[in-house]
């Protein structure tokens, strides 16, 4: 191959309490898609943030087109032609799409510092045209869906005409169709000679899009191989350092017919229309459907996070009134949000505080003083239980890797000892190892007699985990299947059963 576009060698990075990167080597050729994989907390984002100037390396050398460079900040990275789409959305919700894309390099009119808003919107429109995206440059970002916001991030990164493009889990929030779109753009750029780093937990994607794969584990670069030469299984075993048992665990038979939660004729605007379902003790009910089918809305309504127009909620056959999350928690309902950063965690607080957050009452002694000895023990137990990768209980959750944060949310609700648990996209952004742990955990919880509702866009996941599957489309329940009769085709038929067609 030609001379590498980029070469990182001997990169080290230390955070308080964590050696995030150890002697890492990474290179990238022009016109290549280089996938970067590894378990949660392996150091993928950190390695790339060093390249983007977000973090400064402790030691090591970065060579760009053969010459050594220093990247102290993002502006420098941009100047060098490096741009990055971050794992978490980084947009300014109050600004418009175009204003977000060109923030920091606004076109200016004849007078210095005076904005040329027209040129700004035209440039954005031209960019969308080139990428064949349907976005309105003048729309406020807060009015967009998460997937659209992700597309804005992608368009923004591309607008730099960078020669090195880093995408940190760009597909996590996208539907299959949008992913196809992204891959089309990726291939187009590859054809133009751009070097692309693609970080993802969806290993099947790698085969589709990447030329080489680099695997990281515990801050080390384990190996770099040509994608064509490695099987997904080989990559997984490099990631986790062992071969993991991937066969689907048996779906346990539910023997206890007691209905724990029953929802009757729930309505909320156009989002939820006449939804009824029930969950038994020890049962996992999967809610399938396309993005926007109203699944999250149902969970939030039952949890009291959004007001409902009409409908009844019964727990153990008794009608209950849930007018807010306080009531829900009181009645033993827990909700694990799909957007953990916004709704699931107090990012500035430490692991221990987050874990006991929903159950603090239990740890309060006389005089209202929190008994820190007890909270520590409880948090410690969860950290071991779920193998939460944190240097200590006092680490701020903000500093944990994305997948590890998700485990902290799970730990929070397990500590709260709730009887009914709603898991909304529980494995989004989580690596294979952690995924199988979460699956085992769900099974164990059901076995203990908890009633579980799992919302997921991942069909294999739904099929593998659920005892019963409810399918939604446009706010309605369009079908219900038992584990035995369900398959992907049947679910998709129900999931696309739009009203006009029905």
């Amino acid at each position: 191959m030609a001379e590498p576009l980029l070469e990182m060698s001997g990169i080290e990075k230390h955070f308080p309490g964590v050696q995030a990167l150890v002697d890492c080597h990474f290179d990238l050729f022009p016109g290549e898609v280089h996938a970067l994989v590894g378990e949660n907390g392996a150091g993928k984002s950190t390695l790339m943030k060093i390249l983007d100037g977000v973090y400064e390396r402790d030691s090591g050398v970065i060579k760009l087109k053969g010459s050594e460079v220093d990247i102290p900040n993002t502006a420098t990275a941009q100047r060098l032609g490096i741009s990055m789409i971050h794992q978490e959305l980084n947009l300014m919700p109050h600004l418009t799409v175009a204003q977000n894309i060109f923030i920091g390099r606004e076109p200016q009119g004849r007078l210095p510092f005076v904005l040329d808003e027209r040129a700004l919107n035209e440039n954005a429109a031209a960019l969308f045209e080139k990428l064949r995206l349907h976005l309105d440059p003048r729309k406020r970002v807060s009015a967009l869906t998460v997937a659209q916001q992700q597309m804005v991030e992608i368009a923004k990164a591309l607008s730099f005409n960078a020669s090195v493009l880093i995408m940190d889990e760009p597909t996590a929030a996208l539907t299959d169709k949008e992913i196809d779109e992204l891959f089309r753009i990726t291939r187009q750029l590859r054809g133009e000679g751009v070097g692309i780093v693609h970080i993802s937990h969806r290993l099947q994607e790698l085969k589709q899009i990447s030329d080489r794969v680099t695997v990281m584990r515990d801050g080390h670069v384990i190996n770099t191989v040509a994608t064509a030469d490695a099987t997904v299984e080989q990559i997984i075993s490099m990631m986790v350092g062992r071969t993991i048992f991937e066969a689907a665990p048996e779906v346990p038979e539910v023997t206890n017919p007691e209905v724990v939660l029953e929802v009757r004729n729930l309505n909320r605007g156009r989002a939820i229309r006449d939804v009824s379902f029930s969950v038994h003790r020890g049962e996992i009910v999967g809610i399938a459907g396309l993005v926007g089918a109203g699944r999250t809305e149902v969970a939030r309504a039952v949890f009291g996070a959004d007001p409902i127009d009409s409908g009844e909620i019964l727990i153990h056959g008794k009608k209950v009134k849930i007018s807010g999350p306080i009531d829900a928690v009181h009645h033993g309902i827990g909700y694990l949000s799909e957007d953990r950063k916004r709704y699931g965690l107090a990012l500035g607080l430490n692991v221990e505080t987050n874990v006991v957050m929903a159950s603090l009452q239990r740890f309060v002694g006389r005089l209202g003083i929190v008994r820190s000895g007890l909270t520590r023990v409880a948090a410690e137990r969860q950290v071991q239980n779920l193998a939460i990768k944190t240097p200590s209980l006092s680490q701020r959750v903000r500093n944990l890797s994305g997948g590890t944060q998700q485990k902290v949310v799970v730990a929070k609700w397990l500590t709260a000892d709730t009887e009914i648990l709603f898991f909304d996209e529980p494995t989004r952004g989580i690596d294979v190892g952690a995924k199988s742990e979460i699956y085992q955990l769900l099974n164990a919880l059901a076995h203990e007699g908890k009633a579980i509702v799992m919302i997921s866009s991942d069909l294999p996941e739904i099929l593998r985990m659920s005892h019963r599957i409810i399918v939604m489309c446009e706010g309605r329940v369009t079908g219900e299947l038992t584990a035995a009769e369900a398959n992907q085709e049947k679910i998709m038929t129900f999931a696309t059963q739009r009203e006009a067609a029905a």
Binding site: T74, N90, M92, I103, Q108, H134, Q148
Partner: protein
Amino acid sequence: MSNAPGLPLPAGRSGALIRADFFQRFLAFGALIVLILFFQVWCVAIGTNFLTFENLVNILVATAVVGVLALGETFVIITGGIDLSVGTVLTISMVMTAVCITSQHLPVPVGILVGFLTGGLMGLINGVLVAHLKLAPFIATLGILNVARGLSLVLTQTRPIYFAGDNGFQSGVMGNLFGVKLSGEFGIPIIAILMFAAALFAAFLLGKTVLGRYTFALGSNEEAARLSGVNVAKWKMLVYVVCGLFAGLAGVLSAARLGSAQPATGFGLELSAISAVVIGGTSLSGGEGTILGTVIGAFIVYVLTYGLQFVNVPQEWQIVVTGIVVIGAVYIDNLRRRQRA
């Protein structure tokens, strides 16, 4: 992305001047009208008239100083910060102007410039503390509030400084536009014209310049701005400088209005300014706000104060009512936001 219809928006809906939805300004403006009508009804009931040219002029003059103060405060609040020092920065600017013109016998324009720049300097100090030393705005500006307040007392030896005779300064600011009297002694007060000019300039800065864009960006998501390569510290500092400059201007206007530099006035005005900004619909959590809203907010505060005075409500009660109105305004604003979300 097929579910992202590229609906064309009406032209010219960008720019912060006219950015926030129509309803928001309608709300504040409507409240102002209702308030004026309310006092008119009250006045008619007690046998007087509120809607007179004289009252209008008095309200305009009374609003001007805090109006200008609130303009700068708007920028800081949109970044998600707060500047508690504007009141006493006004005082020290007023004192510096007076010292230059009286004891130093410098020409009036120099005195005005010094007052203005004193505000800018205090703003720069606030900016360095907040943006570079990363102190919480509340604490940093609280400190500067006291520094400016103390220095004002030191510079004046705690006594007011009066301008001797007319030097063109007071009459230049407090006179009528073109010297025209429209009704009795009253014409269009120049100080009000100056406030509106300052407001236009502020609206231009906020809506049409890079500084304005970054003001919103910082308040909306500072980390995102940083990751986009925006020099966050530099622009944040400049926002505090802008705020200081407006406070300096307010100080100069205040000196002209009072015909003196009073080391004890100013302290407390920061709360009126912040009230005006918040009543005008600017969000204390940052990212949202308009200059027009702030100007309307300032008028609401002063119509209320002046009106209550005019119908002879005791001063103690005026203060209580103003407090309640601020709380009410923020609550209504909250409801509006929640509805939109």
